[in-house]
């Protein structure tokens, strides 16, 4: 069990609800992953659009914690407005704060993210800020009251894994009590293992499962990867050594080896 934003949870996987081949595969993948937090967005609805209603019914019935995002925002102002409306619609003060600063690599805008985080924290939100792996930006976010940080592994949807584990490590070291979640860029289960082994509290991912050939099976893979990585971290990983060291005891080696 672990605790985030006042909730006790079993799963350390936060899962996205986008890009699945079908609503059924989305539902099955989310269930199989064991995730207890799901991210959603708010978008314009057209008259007669039944897909939106059906999507929401599926999500509601799974009885998960809802984490609305502010995706599509390019300024603090837009993100704050989206968060405030999402709070009313979804009945939660949780928000995944996402302010994009670059259209090419979808890199978060650190200045606008910090500005929005400050306003939202003061307004009573539990902010889950999507940020880069920059230690100074992380510090600024904590300074304005964030209890959670979500640095990227690599750009959204790229599947490149952890581009800069050293930066992620530095954030973990500086903020031992802040909940840290690697968000974005995870491509394969081993990336999630690596993130968890660094001592991160959780992983947020979407494309890695939704775009797999078999999303449901990949969801299961990530479920175990995150558990394995966490266990590895908790168990304490051995120190790397420069030279080989026999694992089988040398004492008691049978006599005939002595004649080789």
């Amino acid at each position: 069990m672990w605790k985030i934003a006042g909730k006790e949870l079993e799963s350390r996987l936060l899962i996205g609800s986008a890009l699945y081949p079908s609503p059924l595969q989305m539902e099955e993948s989310i269930k199989t992953s064991g995730a207890q937090i799901v991210t959603v967005s708010l978008r314009r609805q057209n008259a007669g659009d039944k897909a939106a209603q059906s999507f929401w019914n599926i999500i509601k019935e799974m009885n998960l914690e809802i984490l609305p995002n502010t995706a599509g925002s390019h300024s603090a102002k837009e993100a704050v407005k989206t968060a405030q409306i999402a709070r009313e619609v979804f009945g939660t003060n949780w928000v995944k704060l996402e302010v994009i600063g670059d259209q090419y690599n979808l890199q978060p805008d650190p200045f606008e993210t910090v500005k929005a985080a400050e306003i939202l924290v003061k307004d009573g939100f539990e902010v889950f800020p999507y940020t880069t792996d920059d230690l100074v930006v992380a510090t600024k976010l904590v300074d304005v009251g964030c209890n959670i940080l979500m640095p990227w592994g690599s750009p959204i949807g790229s599947g490149q894994g952890l581009m800069n584990p050293n930066n992620l490590k530095a954030i973990r070291k500086k903020f031992p009590k802040i909940q840290l979640i690697v968000d974005a860029g995870i491509g394969k289960p081993s990336d999630a293992v690596e993130a968890m082994q660094l001592g991160y509290d959780a992983v947020l991912l979407n494309s890695a499962i939704a775009l797999a050939l078999d999303p449901v099976k990949m969801a299961e893979g990530f479920k175990y990867a995150i558990q394995a990585g966490r266990l590895g971290y908790e168990a304490g990983i051995m120190q790397e050594r420069e030279f080989a060291s026999p694992s089988t005891p040398v004492v008691g080696t049978p006599f005939w080896h002595q004649f080789d």
Binding site: G16, S17, A18, L19, Y20, M26, T39, V40, S41, L42, R43, R44, Q45, N46, A47, G48, D49, A52, Q53, F55, W56, I59, P68, N69, A71, K81, Q84, I85, E88, V89, F90, I156, G157, N206, S207
Partner: protein
């Protein structure tokens, strides 16, 4: 004859009857009575206030729904 007014809904110009409330506007625009959010001139309108909230000429309305997101 009831006067008609022009408003902007989800970025598109629409014409509705003057003095419509949100509930009537939703019906005129062809939305079914299901879960969505209405934002009138940038302010979220609670479902309970759909009857009493009147739409005026030139109002900007966003009709939003929960969608997939990462």
């Amino acid at each position: 004859m009831v006067e008609k007014i022009e408003i902007v809904v989800n970025g598109e110009k629409k014409v509705i009857l003057n003095k419509s409330n949100i509930k009537e506007m939703i019906k005129t625009l062809g939305y079914e009575d299901n879960s969505f959010a209405v934002v009138l001139n940038g302010t979220f309108v609670d479902l309970k206030k759909y009857d009493e909230t009147k739409i005026a000429k030139g109002d900007t309305i966003e009709i939003l729904a929960p969608m997939a997101g990462g």
